[in-house]
């Protein structure tokens, strides 16, 4: 027997939505659809309309930017239990980076315009959703700051060696 989970069930199992009231999940699920990406497949591209965000169930997506000689530099990856994308929240609703799947990836895509409308109609839902995005933003900011420290670079000697 094949068991098919509803969008609502999938969202309820995801850590990003943990603790949300059932009524919120029902509303949010109405904006969702299942998506799947193969390794190498583009999820979204820099400059395109940011019309959704992705609730990753399994897999891995790399966020990347083009370097000066068109080299692609991956700046972060998201994986099982993560959420991808917040550019749908703020004008001009454009993606700032490229996103490619680097593994077989299953996600729920939530329509940005649909969610914004529901948040406008139900401020409490909007507040609870924004709380989660604010926490996510803070977490990503902290991780990015740690990456910027270049902790493993030559100025940090690694381990046991303290020599000048």
């Amino acid at each position: 027997m094949t068991v098919t989970s509803s969008i609502r069930d999938l969202l309820a199992e995801h850590p990003f939505f943990a603790g949300l009231p059932d009524a919120d999940l029902d509303l949010i699920a109405g904006c969702g659809r299942n998506v799947h990406f193969h390794p190498g497949q583009l999820v979204f591209a820099e400059g395109e309309a940011a019309d959704a965000f992705f609730v990753l169930r399994r897999g891995r997506v790399a966020l990347s930017v083009h370097g000066p000689q068109s080299d692609e530099i991956t700046i972060a990856t998201v994986t099982d239990g993560d959420v991808l994308g917040w550019s749908w929240l703020f004008p001009p609703y454009r993606w700032h980076f490229d996103a490619h799947a680097t593994a077989e990836t299953s996600a729920v895509a939530l329509d940005g315009a649909c969610l914004r409308d529901k948040c406008d109609e139900d401020a409490a839902l909007g507040y609870r959703l924004m709380q989660r995005f604010a926490r996510l933003t803070q977490q990503r900011l902290q991780e990015t700051r740690l990456q910027l420290l270049d902790l493993y670079g030559r100025e940090h000697h690694g381990h046991r060696i303290v020599e000048h």
Binding site: P39, T74, R154, H159, V162, E163
Partner: protein
Amino acid sequence: MVIASSSTEEVTTRGPMVPVPYRVVAQRTELVDTQTLVIEAVGEALPHAAPGQFSMLWAFGIGEVPISHSRVHGARGAAEHTVRAVGATTRALCALAEGDVIGVRGPFGRGWDLPVAEGGDVVVVAGGLGLAPVRPVVEAILARRERFERVAVLVGARSPDDLLFADDLSAWRARFDVEVEVTVDHARAGWHGDVGVVTSMIPRVPIDPRSATAFVCGPEIMMRFAAAALVDRGFARQRIQVSLERNMVCAVGHCGHCQLGPTFVCREGPVYTVAALGSLLDVRSL
């Protein structure tokens, strides 16, 4: 003279300040600036090291530096050290060839407390060259795999080109009884693994924090954030072990260069539990 160290073994019958000649019997380039030296005693051998201990390596005529044991050999007299060239002495050590002789003192310090982890899950968190001091822990666990429950090794590096011990990581992955996760700070096209800080992997590693022990080694800022993430995950502070990096000079607790508050890292460390350190890691300039 016999001097007892804080480890269970005697340091040396010569006195701990007298280096013993060791010959380089193998040398491997790990990274562009990092070499592994396999050394054997020319004559009298020092006691073999426990995982997490360090020795003082002396490049004759240049200087002496504390270097962790990156592999613990069963044979008395053999030792393995992984060295990054960051200054005059480490550059000299990295330039050694087979047959060259160095001076060695040690092993010193208190290593990883592995028995406390038996019967529970284990998480090893390593950043950059910090993988070198914890590799002996992973190898000891894998040699007695049945004594531990789930084992996860989380490794962070600057980029894919800066990944230490890539062959070992592949071999561990191939066993299927240890979860190995690698992340890098940034990567170019062709890297299909994770990109991000190693601490971001801690919330999702499949272990039971109530029974788990963590072994953490890397730059001190990374260890602080890793310890915080482990505590958030539910680890007890006394089950989080970190290996500290300080300026060890005498290595026997006399000179005070490695003092951290009330403790000498060379003697009471370099491995401490987060509970034992208390807030010492948060004190600036300490």
